[in-house]
Symmetry: C2
Subunit: 446 residues, 2 copies
């Protein structure tokens, strides 16, 4: 993309309403614009990051054997009356009446609707196991929406639902979700720690929240520092292997790691003192096993091998897709702006032309742009007639992990400059070497 | 995908509520499930087609230089009061009150919201031309929703908005949209004819609707048969070339083609009698130039080169993404079921194992599955223990354009059968040849 043709409305001033750094940076970098309290338009740069995160979630869910679909945003109130949650849910549920006076609601979650789909179509244990998920906009009418997309009212969430014949099978689904979530967050450049959590209005016994450590997190968290040494890495995983998935769950959840809701000071004190940590965390996902709570309320049963009709065992599993954009920025920024991890960056690298209009500089930039594009990479080329300082400030603000700087002085020696946004380190390379290095970083060449 | 692990709830009976063939087939093929009147869940097979259509629209819009973003589903009533449409829009607008009693609405279209974004960030002609678009769920509270996803209440639409300094520039944007739409529909296997149309509640002078001819279309259309001879094909297009885009507009719109709303019998009678056609059509898109209607109401002005402040010239341009799923089926089916065009098929081909459990047949199917997948294709392998007739009926119903049939008898002679869903023609090929033929059809090998 050439910046002269893009829509990147960066702001010079720090917006007064934004209290936390991710909200400030998303506004300044032209990623979002508030439409109403807690409701945002995703401007082109923000939309690109949102899609990258969504794609990672899709890829990892499909890899785990979970099946994508899409439920609507608006749901029937009657279904929520069946489960008993219509009255329970409180004022966070946005209630709507249509032109015929029928009660609807903007879905805050989808346990009822997915269970209705299941009970309409599945009646035999032979069709299990089954995990369906979707990535769809939800609405929760927060009384005081704030922190930008971190606590918005209209938000994008992945929510998945497993249907299994018994608790053991459902716990394997639970473990598959834990593993796929660990992989997903790592691909986004995040360390998200699974912590024992409280089930809240979803219900159920087993639940873990995934928390990203950040000073601005809304939850206080307590953990054994040994948990932050764990990484999933590129280990091979067979999602049908019950023991392997269970082993990963144990590896990542056997150390103490809890939010304030489930914190147990006595247990915490048993950790060696030098490993006890208190910090703040941002919740970016949660998995639940809740057994037959919804299947019993809504009559979702299957026939087992011996002919008995049993309610299916279920769980639900969510990733806050739009919230993650803010969470990643909270975890990865500096005074100059955002620092995108490579996995979610909106453009793979920036190209800064120090002397727009100079035939040689323009030509070198166009050649770089063409080479990177031909490799399947997406560069953002700042081809505006602006001074170098302004171009650098914009690139730093929007946080592309790599920048290639092209100027007449370097070109005289046959070199351009490749700079890491994270470390600030630069090296002089031929244009060809710079392209190859960037391509190698993103794994498009060996 | 192995069918034993998929969620494909095909129905045996013809659902009573479905009046048109696409609605019946989408229910029978397990593509959708109604959640409420005019509101559908997209089951896995339907979701895959929806995504394919969405991807084509994204690719062609980006190719035309239009910039993707995303606006929220819920909008502020105040913005619609500014434009004067809040009261005008009538009962089709779903009006909502939040917990604080603030008036909102579920967006039926986005002229107001995009103009608000524009006026907040753009003030100079130097930032033009600019076309922003999004693909987002909309809601129109139809009094009698029917025909499945063809006239739903919650529906997925691509809507794009151009901002230009004067009418001439805006008409080039109009032409770019016409060209990109022609390309998009052809990639979906559709012939969509641009017809002079009525602007309705959007307003404006210049507008064309794109109609797909089908017996179940809601509009009566009148045209010169010469228009159906036109195809866009794979001609090269430079979207910056004003004359080229204008030429394509003229080529595709100079013959008579109108809906009943704008039909002019006197003009129609001037067409040679043997080329006069009356038919029914399904509207799958519309483009509008409406000048300064919204920019004046909302104060969206830019400063021109000579320092004057002028309201921007705008247009809006829509493609009915969810409706297209139905429209494609209306245009492409037979007694046995759907016939997907290659461009939008949910799976590239089916693999039918005639003797599940037979070691040789199972092995050959697995090998085919592996080879196709390695080429980046997505086969659907019917690995269920069902009789052959049932497997064929399912494949015919869900409409994959190509089917590879594997059985012990053929394997003895080293062959499998490749069958075209459209023609019903089969040929015997070695497994290797079958894979190569399918790969060539989809352009993944030469």
């Amino acid at each position: 993309m050439r910046l002269s043709r893009y829509f990147l409305p960066v702001l010079k001033e720090i917006p007064a309403e934004a209290q936390i750094v991710s909200h400030r940076l998303m506004l300044r970098a032209g990623m979002i614009k508030q439409a109403q309290a807690g409701i945002y338009s995703w401007l082109p740069l923000g939309f690109k990051v949102l899609k990258k995160i969504e794609n990672i979630v899709h890829e990892e869910q499909i890899r785990a054997g979970h099946i994508p679909m899409l439920m609507p945003t608006l749901q029937s109130a009657d279904l929520w009356r069946e489960s008993g949650r219509y009255d329970d849910y409180g004022e966070e549920m946005l209630r709507i009446s249509d032109r015929h006076g029928r009660d609807m609601l903007y879905g805050p979650t989808n346990e009822e609707l997915i269970t209705d789909i299941f009970r309409s179509h599945v009646s035999s244990y032979k069709d299990l196991p089954l995990t369906l998920y979707h990535i769809q906009w939800k609405f929760r009418d927060e009384v005081r929406p704030r922190f930008g997309v971190m606590r918005g009212r209209e938000f994008l969430m992945k929510d998945g639902y497993n249907f299994d014949v018994d608790k053991a099978a459902a716990m394997h689904a639970y473990n598959r979700h834990l593993v796929s979530y660990l992989r997903s967050y790592e691909r986004m450049g995040l360390q998200a720690i699974p912590m024992r959590a409280d089930s809240g209005p979803i219900g159920g016994d087993d639940t873990h929240e995934f928390l990203v450590l950040a000073d601005t997190g809304e939850s206080e968290v307590f953990y054994d520092s040994a948990v932050t040494d764990l990484t999933f890495g590129d280990r091979a995983i067979d999602y049908d292997d019950v023991a392997q998935c269970q082993g990963i769950l144990e590896e990542f959840t056997s150390r103490y790691a809890r939010t304030d809701e489930t914190h147990d000071p006595a247990l915490f004190d048993q950790i060696p003192e030098d490993r006890r940590r208190t910090a703040r965390g941002i919740e970016v996902g949660q998995i639940f096993y809740f057994g037959t709570k919804y299947s019993e309320a809504l009559g979702a049963t299957v026939q087992t091998a011996d002919g008995a009709a049993v309610p299916v065992h279920m769980g639900s599993h969510g990733i806050g897709v739009s919230r993650l954009v803010g969470a990643i920025i909270e975890a990865s920024h500096d005074d100059k702006g955002i620092i995108w991890p490579e996995g979610v960056t909106p453009f793979h690298c920036g190209i800064v032309n120090l002397k727009q209009g100079d035939a040689e500089a323009d030509g070198a930039c166009e050649a770089l742009y063409g080479s990177l594009t031909a490799l399947g990479l997406e560069p953002l080329y700042d081809d505006r007639k602006e001074r170098a300082g302004g171009k650098f400030a914009t690139m730093d603000l929007i946080g592309l992990p790599w920048r290639i700087t092209v100027g007449p002085r370097g070109l005289k020696n046959g070199v351009v400059e490749l700079t890491s946004r994270r470390t600030g380190e630069s090296e002089e390379l031929t244009p060809q070497e710079a392209v190859e290095k960037v391509a190698r970083i993103y794994g498009v060449i060996d």
